[in-house]
């Protein structure tokens, strides 16, 4: 008899340098169910599914497909086993037609003039049209990818899997890029796929979606499997609690201080991304001296864009940013640094550091042009070195060759220490921390939290942007919750509970906004 489970992943452990992405995770998926993987960013959901799809090999553990032990060492092996995956970022050739994208690699062959081998594109078009009717995935096979919208592209990705006879369909946060109406349509499609006998694995951190369509739900936290729940009999609040995992919270000592003058004032800020889509809409808040304002929210809801706009890396569409009452909207990035804005960016390696430069140069990246660092355009190596050394000592940056260490060779945690040290030593008036503890170990996290509090106690204004609810609850004096580019709730931290903040973050707060979004 066939096994009850179509997919079994037993005791999977996957380590990356400095981080355990999956630790002894076992999941069993039944044929014909929608199985959701729920967890915060970095909880290990995507890694687990990448292992199933053959993109990584597990360090430990085994995978059984239809009860048979399989070694899945490449995506093509996964395809042979009828596993398909829709990635968060679509993998389509934008100047090819829908048909061409779908058949790529498995083209139906024909004979041109009876003997020349060619692709039978007409037959392919017909096949795709049939397939799209069968599963209710409306597309016009001859359309060019660059001419169609995001949700149609996603349908193309789904058709790509179905064309390859996928039975087990993995969706990696499929709704992240869609509008509410498109989400509704997609969820209907996914339910339809299940009804026609497919097995679905859905990676998500949106509780309402899981509640709507999933049968069972596995919750991952920091690489470990926390629980497997029957979705029907569990309410979203319980899922949220398990996902965020309050019991691991560690309190950071924080003494009460009074707030001073207003340092940063964001006034009706609207930011458009490169597609002219408003990613931040009409956001206003203030941060005073000695205040930590934390923006809580699920990744990709516009919080990083706010930080970029304050630092001058992104253009403001409308609204104003004021520092001590003075508009900085038209200032250059460097003028803003000089005005006292320090910025610890989310992307350490691509933005925060020049990986191929040594530590000394990286530690002076925001100050190298100042008088003591350079005289008449000639760099003062001795001073650069001294200054680098003092940051290394003060912030406990571990590095092999002191100031001469090439930053690429350092661990992620130490790279982050270097950035934080550099930015704090600028001695500004406003410090922006974006995801400051992502990927760090517990000890390093604690240290960063202390540094954030210290900044506040020095009377600086601190803007903290974090996806970790714990972090927000522990550190913030004021919490602003952002959901799809708008601040839904802003209040003193004392007046909010973790549960409330979590609900606002998920967009399942007091009001449903599906109707008002374009």
């Amino acid at each position: 008899m066939d096994s009850e489970y179509i997919v079994e992943m037993r005791n999977i452990t996957k380590r990356f340098p400095g981080i355990v992405a999956n630790s002894d995770v076992t999941i069993r998926i039944k044929k014909g169910e929608i199985y959701a993987l729920l967890g915060e960013n970095g909880a290990g959901k995507s890694t687990l599914m990448s292992i199933l799809f053959g993109m990584y090999e597990p360090d430990e553990g085994e995978i059984l497909i239809r009860g048979k032990r399989e070694k899945i060492n490449s995506p093509s092996r996964a395809t042979e086993l009828n596993i398909g995956m829709v990635h968060q970022h679509f993998k389509l050739v934008s100047n090819y037609t829908i048909t061409e994208n779908i058949i790529m690699g498995q083209e139906p062959r024909g004979r041109f003039l009876g003997f020349l081998p060619c692709i039978d594109i007409k037959r392919a078009d017909r096949e795709i049209a049939d397939l799209s009717r069968k599963y209710n995935l409306e597309v016009t096979p001859t359309d060019i990818i660059s001419d169609i919208n995001v949700s149609t592209r996603q349908r193309v990705e789904i058709l790509k899997m179905l064309y390859r006879d996928a039975e087990i369909l993995i969706f990696d946060e499929p709704t992240a890029v869609l509008t509410p109406q498109e989400i509704d349509a997609l969820l209907d499609i996914i339910s339809g796929l299940r009804d026609s006998g497919k097995t679905i694995i859905l990676i998500s951190h949106k509780l309402d979606e899981i509640k709507r369509i999933a049968d069972r739900c596995a919750i991952l936290r920091r690489g470990r499997l926390i629980a497997v729940l029957d979705v029907k009999s569990t309410d979203t609040k319980e899922m949220a609690n398990l996902m965020v995992g309050r019991e691991v919270s560690f309190r950071t000592e924080k003494k009460e201080t009074g707030f001073g003058e207003t340092v940063l004032e964001i006034d009706k800020l609207t930011i458009h991304n490169s597609d002219e889509f408003p990613v931040v809409r009409n956001v206003s808040f203030k941060i005073r001296e000695g205040e930590i304002l934390a923006i809580a929210g699920v990744s990709g809801n516009g919080q990083v864009e706010i930080a970029h706009a304050i630092a001058g890396l992104m253009k403001v569409h409308s609204g104003d940013i004021r520092l001590y009452g003075k508009s900085i909207r038209n200032m250059s990035i460097r003028e803003r640094t000089e005005a006292g804005i320090a910025y610890i960016p989310e992307d350490r390696q691509e933005m925060g550091l020049v990986l191929d430069f040594n530590l000394k140069d990286n530690l002076a990246l925001k100050r190298y042009y100042r008088d003591s660092f350079a005289r008449k355009g000639i760099r003062n190596n001795t001073y650069l070195d001294e200054c680098g050394r003092s940051i290394i000592d003060k912030y406990d940056v571990r590095c092999a060759a002191s100031t001469e260490t090439i930053v690429r060779s350092m661990s992620g945690g130490n790279q982050q220490k270097a950035i934080i040290g550099r930015e704090i030593e600028l001695g500004g008036v406003l410090t922006i921390f974006v995801q400051p503890t992502r990927g760090l170990d517990i000890g390093a996290i604690e240290r960063v939290h202390k540094q954030i509090i210290e900044e506040r106690d020095k009377g600086k204004a601190v803007l903290l942007i974090s996806l970790e609810l714990d972090e927000v609850m522990n550190l913030a004096d004021t919490i602003a919750v952002i959901y799809s580019g708008e601040i839904d709730r802003i209040a003193p931290a004392k007046e909010l509970t973790t549960r409330e903040v979590g609900e606002y973050m998920m967009g399942v707060g007091v009001h449903d906004k599906a109707g008002e979004v374009v």
Binding site: A311, L313, S332, L365, G377
Partner: protein
């Protein structure tokens, strides 16, 4: 562990492998590769020839060799500077042409005394080259036009316009090239008699050494150089740190163009004294290869230029002595480039051997 040391070793290994491959080809042609390579050295005045023509000796061969390699030093340096900002200046030849053409018509045909004329030639050529280089940088910064495309197109534009001007105004009816410039403006002291021998003395060579040191200082010691390198190493981080990425690119292309312009001056108003219409100098393109072999470092290109120019310059003598085609030299150069392009692979191999040794102990 030392990175700089590694780079030198890798370059040496690459060159050595290229020479071995070249030797195999020479063997296939039934010649002795060692004497072929030795004849390359002889052709450049680095080893004594069996006999010399009248007025020639080893030193005069060597000074001609220095004269020959001077344009390449500047051209390769131009490629290095652009490369540090992450830009690919494939328009060195066009910039050489514009700079040297302006210097030719403004100074080359004048009677200005030579103490004044020679510096003016360099200044005008530098300005002309810098103008074109800066324009390429500006197009990149302002309109995001890929520098490779704009520099290739400007190469042709410059070549045809200048070709037209030479053919209509400055042509020598016999040679069909631009008229010879005066000795007052020429940067090479041509056929100077010292004792019973005649020498070509390249004044530009000294300037090239100065330029190498200057570029090294610029890149290693100055704020401007730091910004240029930062833009090249990580554009996003450069922007984040407040560097004006666009103007850094324009400045670096401007400097690259200035060096190209001087390369043009020491070529067309030094090594030779005329411009052939509608022909782009291969120096500008070979400079990219020289830069690659030299590990795109200012000091590195001094050695790679020296080395590759021996092969190129010595090929004439090799062909006459060995009965080998002069083109064999290009084949050898090509093989060396091929092995140099594999330098990342060689570096990985070195590291792997080290790791294995480390594990074995």
């Amino acid at each position: 562990m030392n990175k700089k040391y590694d780079r030198v070793i890798v370059a040496a290994i690459a060159v050595f492998l290229g020479l071995i491959a070249g030797a195999v080809i020479i063997l296939i042609l039934k010649r002795n590769p060692i004497s072929a390579y030795y004849s390359l050295l002889r052709g450049c005045g680095l080893a004594p020839k069996v006999k010399y023509a009248g007025g020639k000796n080893m030193l005069s061969d060597f000074s001609s060799f220095l004269d020959y390699m001077t344009p390449m030093l500047f051209a390769a340096l131009a490629v290095v500077v652009a490369f540090k900002t992450g830009l690919f200046n494939i328009g060195v030849s066009g910039q050489m042409l514009v700079g040297s053409f302006l210097a030719t018509i403004l100074i080359g045909y004048s009677n200005i005394p030579s103490v004044l004329a020679k510096p003016l030639v360099i200044i005008i050529a530098a300005a002309g080259g810098g103008l074109i280089g800066g324009l390429i940088g500006y197009l990149k910064y302002r309109f995001n036009i890929n520098e490779v495309v704009s520099s290739i197109m400007l190469n042709y534009t410059a070549s045809y316009i200048i070709g037209f001007l030479i053919n209509t105004r400055y042509v020598d009816p016999v040679s069909r090239q631009s008229r010879d410039i005066g000795a007052n403006a020429r940067l090479t002291l041509h056929q100077i008699s010292i004792g019973s021998y005649k020498y070509d003395i390249p004044l530009g060579f000294i300037l090239a050494l100065v330029a190498i040191v200057a570029v090294k200082i610029l890149l290693d010691k100055t704020v401007l150089g730091f910004e240029i390198k930062c833009v090249g190493a990580n554009r996003e981080a450069a922007r984040y740190s407040g560097i004006k990425v666009g103007s850094s690119m324009v400045i670096s292309m401007l400097i690259s163009g200035v060096l190209s312009g001087i390369a043009g001056a020491v070529c067309y108003l030094g090594y030779i004294s005329t411009i052939q219409p509608k022909v782009l100098s291969p120096t500008g393109f070979d400079a990219i290869a020289v830069c690659l072999v030299g590990g795109s470092s200012p000091v590195g290109i001094l050695f790679s230029t020296f080395f590759l120019m021996i092969i190129s310059k010595g090929s004439t003598y090799m062909s006459s002595q060995m009965g080998l085609e002069a083109e064999i030299a290009s084949v050898i150069t090509g093989l060396i480039l091929l092995t140099s392009a594999c330098s990342a692979f060689i570096l990985e191999r070195i590291k792997m051997i080290r790791r294995k040794r480390g594990a074995g102990e």
